[in-house]
């Protein structure tokens, strides 16, 4: 049943990329336990606005866990304590009255902070630009039934394709590696015949771009899988590494 709770928030405030940031404390009062985490921040922000204080900046859009816009590290966990859940789908019934809640942005070299909890994830777009697509122009496609795809392969491709590009995997990784994100796309396309003509070129280019963006390497902590709101599996990284070696051999 719905009730209300009071919380102490410690929020990372940083006015711009250049300025130093620091934690600020705010009271979140009378929060319904049916509210989502972002709705709790809305309540706090509306109150700040009424007192002419700049509201806490955070990215968000769909608020149903699919657009990948939102995300913050809450009490040390990317997207908060609930597994397989984006921040917008985390509900306040998971917190207790009087809890202290520490809220920080994703922290990674590849994701420079823009303001407060908002980071620049443009690196993810550039990794996709490096090869996360099938080079087909509109109009070139054969009939959709021309290539049957075994259901298990289609299902596994769909498992990988569910990535929402939120960046929690990077935030959770002690090396700030973007391996899970990159591997999910590579593996989706490697599992499908449509992706095969470019598979060697794709994996090499995407892995190179990932390195260029300043993300660390994977050292198999599996924190990414634990943080991923879409439960993308680490086996994608294994598959990516296999693809990568395969591509290097094929290239020589």
């Amino acid at each position: 049943m719905s009730k209300t709770i009071n919380l102490k928030l410690r929020v990372w405030r940083q006015a711009s990329p250049e300025q130093a940031g620091k934690f600020e404390d705010y009271d979140a009062k009378g929060i319904s336990t049916d509210a989502s985490f972002l709705e709790m921040l809305d309540v706090v922000n509306d109150e700040l606005e009424r007192h002419d204080i700049d509201p806490i900046a955070f990215d968000h859009d769909c608020r149903e866990g699919i657009c990948g816009s939102c995300g913050a590290v809450v009490n040390g966990c990317a997207h908060g304590p609930e597994s397989a859940t984006t921040l917008c789908q985390l509900h306040m019934r998971k917190f207790k009255d009087g809890d202290v809640v520490i809220i920080e942005p994703w922290r990674a070299n590849g994701f420079p902070i823009i303001k407060d909890l908002v980071v620049d994830r443009g690196a993810f777009d550039r990794i996709i630009q490096a090869g996360g697509y099938v080079s087909i122009r509109t109009g070139q496609a054969p009939d959709a039934h021309a290539i049957p795809i075994p259901k298990p392969a289609a299902d596994k491709a769909m498992d990988a394709a569910q990535c929402i590009g939120c960046g929690a995997c990077v935030a959770a990784c002690p090396n700030a590696s973007a391996s899970l994100f990159t591997a999910a796309k590579i593996n989706q396309l490697a599992l499908l015949p449509q992706g095969h003509p470019e598979r060697n070129r794709r994996v090499v280019a995407m892995v190179e771009q990932m390195d260029k963006e300043g993300f660390g390497s994977c050292s198999k902590h599996y924190e990414c899988e634990a943080a991923c709101p879409k439960e993308i599996k680490v086996e994608n990284i294994t598959a990516m590494n296999r693809e990568y070696r395969r591509a290097l051999i094929a290239r020589d």
Partner: protein, 650 residues
Amino acid sequence: MAIATDYWKIAESAGLDSKIPSGPIGQKWTKHKFDMKLVNPANKRKFKVIVVGTGLAGASAAATMSELGYKVKAFCFQDSPRRAHSIAAQGGINAAKNYQNDGDSVYRLFYDTVKGGDYRSREANVHRLAEVSVNIIDQCVAQGVPFAREYGGYLANRSFGGAQVSRTFYARGQTGQQLLLGAYSALMKEVASGGVEMFPRREMLDLIVVDGRACGIVVRNLVTGQLETHTADAVCLATGGYGNVFYLSTNAKGSNVTAAWRAHKRGAYFANPCYTQIHPTCIPVHGDFQSKLTLMSESLRNDGRVWVPKKPGDTRPAHEIPEADRNYYLETKYPSFGNLVPRDVASRNAKDVCDAGNGVGATGLAVYLDFTDAIKRDGMSVIEAKYGNLFQMYERITDDNPYKTPMMIYPAVHYTMGGLWVDYNLMSNLPGLHVLGEANFSDHGANRLGASALMQGLADGYFVIPYTIGDYLAKAGPSGVTPDHPEAKKVEAEVKQRIDTFIHMTGKRAVNDFHRELGLLMWDECGMARNEEGLKKALKRIPELREEFWQDVNVTGSPGTLNQCLERAGRVADFLEFAELMCTDALHRSESCGGHFREESQTDEGEAKRKDDEFCYAAAWQYNGVGETPTLHKEALEFENVKLTQRSYK
């Protein structure tokens, strides 16, 4: 009959040319493709096209036009084009493939869509949509979109949203996501090739019109606060719908009417703004802190049974209410379609039973969607495979387990059929301004069928605009306008002044306070059911609320940085103007049709009653100033193929 009143004027001559090609319905598009002028390949690279919005329509349009050789600039307000709200569509995409051999055809999809739209869409556009639907599936599969498949390796289909054939393609409950990521990947491919220049975190704040031709936009860089002026030879708006005028809707928080409204204020007509779709299967409202409503795919209605207690005010838990005391009202009232009636019908019936006091849950504004019989019939594992992710989502939000207790649902604002008026070429009455996807008005009439929004977005972007833009550019030639053109400078100065005004607003109320109040007013008076008295009440209140906003809103921070308060203020200010036009349109259309239900116009059985001899037209509104009565232009709708009948799903 709509006659001029204190609320609107009527144009002397319609002045709208829909440019529908002549000839039989099945050959119009083919003939038109041949009749259109082409731009030779070497000249294409000399033309610049601006695309605003990167959802299904915008991303597919930008990618495809770049593939053809045009220089494209694409803009979105999100941090990445992959986040546009098309991503949230769950159920699927229709296509007349007839892979199930169950009697589907292009003509049947066309027919169903015209009927589903309650005969308020343009036949020629809808037929073209049905024709290209088959190409969309081919294109998406080739891109690597992992549609659901059967064990033989071929694509799976389901029946969806009241269709009696299985023509819906899907990717679990995430079809919109997979289609958008497909279009996004095509867009990224073109960014890599240099054909598209991508501008994320930019919000369009005005349209530049020179000598009657749209040829540029002013955007705010949301990170630095800088205004940027971009000029081109054509502008395409694919900026989605205006459902957030209700504050609570299933739209993303950022979805807004600003780009379309700014274009309207620069001369583009806004058509049928009162046509809004209220989706029947959403999680009910549960508190005033609530920021949005969550939709659950209506595919749930394939197996779930909708019911309420027969006795008003029955507070027993669902499992204690025996069969005899339950009213499965959709099954009783509509024996042939049952729980699968179209969205407008399902929503209105839910409202009716709740208004009669039979609603359930803490607020009484909910009905049950019960899977008990389906679980008994098919087993838990089958239901879990079909709806597992939706059940999980429901439980996460409500803390209730739908495998054990029936879901509670209530209708919520979901989609807007109205939008900027466009001709058959998707061009507005302003030459050069093209409008795609949900932002235009043309294909869904007064009600959109399930799994048709994704189809229309991708049809417009992949297969319509890439052809029609060539015809426009070949005839119009380059605009020759650059950002230092006096008109461009003037528009940019106006945008800057508006932002300065906002920044100096030091009232006492938060932006959201106004948005919530407007939303509630619109939901009460211009929501699932409308009447003259309520609409007039809203039309009196909206200008007052707008006045209060400009007196008492507080906008914090500075214009030169990321400022989400300023962003929201601009959007709410535009909703406060737009809402008035929406209510005016709803007031003038004194018939009921599709999602627009005027209480004064219903059949004896309480169904929407059209008045075809008076209202068989699209209402395109011309802007005359804030608070000024708008001018109505009528585009007569001619039905040469589908016979107008009272829709019946009994």
